[in-house]
Subunit: 205 residues, 2 copies
């Protein structure tokens, strides 16, 4: 089974590495890290990841994982990722996104009229791009699974492992990464965070 983890400049590294840690250890998978070129990709805060293949070379995958970026407008404007998605999504078994990666799926026409979720700060934009926006953490619609912001990619990937390999395998993956979360604050959603914290984050997004 071929897994395609999409890379592009300034992407949010955790959007990709959360699902990677859950999916890439499964039996019989081959993890591809695909970008426009094989040049190392500098992600959001300086972490540099090396692609293993290019959009031109990889014309199909069974599972596609598209991460987001705080520079989602720039990535949408570049159009490179969405162009590749238009080609490979029809051949994929599962197409997934994390955070603002959903806007790239939408730009590729994958989410038109379909329920989807995204980072809380870009729900309005995703709606303008044609999706039926939900505020759930993980939304599955047929062969497309979208996740909310950044850390939601872990929940999305565990859900996908359950769908592909079954609940027991997914539970083993959850246990292996000791995913028994204890956030030190109750501030993980705009509904639970103090208003001034929400405003501070919106000022940066």
């Amino acid at each position: 089974m071929d897994l395609a983890f999409v890379l592009y400049p300034r992407m949010t590294a955790l959007d990709l590495v959360g699902p990677y840690e859950v999916l890439a250890h499964q039996p019989g998978v081959t993890a591809h890290f695909v970008a426009e070129t094989t040049e190392p990709v500098v992600t959001d805060a300086g972490l540099v990841i090396v692609p293993t293949t290019t959009f031109a070379a990889l014309d199909r995958a069974d599972v596609i994982v598209v991460p987001g970026s705080s520079d989602y407008e720039g990535v949408l404007a570049a159009g490179v990722v969405a162009r590749w998605l238009r080609e490979v999504h029809p051949k994929a078994t599962w197409t997934t996104s994390v955070c603002t990666g959903s806007t790239l799926l939408a730009d590729a026409g994958v989410l038109t009229g379909r329920p989807a979720t995204t980072h809380w700060a870009v729900r309005e934009l995703l709606g303008r791009l044609g999706a039926e926006v939900r505020s759930e953490r993980v939304v599955r619609d047929g062969d497309v699974i979208t996740a909310a912001g950044v850390s939601a990619g872990i929940d999305m990937a565990l859900t996908l492992v359950g769908l592909i390999w079954g609940d027991r395998v997914a539970m083993a993956s959850q246990l292996a990464i000791e995913y028994d979360p204890e956030p030190p604050y109750d501030a993980g959603s705009p509904e639970s965070a103090p208003p001034e914290v929400v405003a501070a984050v919106l000022g940066k997004v």
Copy 2:
């Protein structure tokens, strides 16, 4: 403020990228990705990360983050990371570990007689290495903070951001990564996972 994210072959990528996503966006920080050489590092399931500096070149940091690996015995035997930790820990403000990275801190003498946590599957080993093992998700003892397995690095990093920059900044970081976890299963700890799932994971660790 200099952040040193330690890299080594077969390390668990999420152990590093969880804390990276929380810490490296803070104001005034410089993120260093330090390894034995500047050659790209192949992590646990194929993700390749490029170091920005070497153990020989980086002789201090304000915050040190040490990830774990399922090959923790090999990493302990190599001794390279522990040797560097013996040099830099005394000069650091905060020394932290995620998952089995705790065994490297212990091997460097950082945890001798101190409370610490680690991946649930290596608690006994950490005790043999001299630490007072706890089963908490995040354990702080003075200037040392240890996290449980893999995903616990996110909770550890948010705790550390609160200690350094305050609760409001930490809550903003939690909201920015939308860390409002909803694991699809209740299997994130050996206490909650079905016995056969625990056995299956132990067979692989």
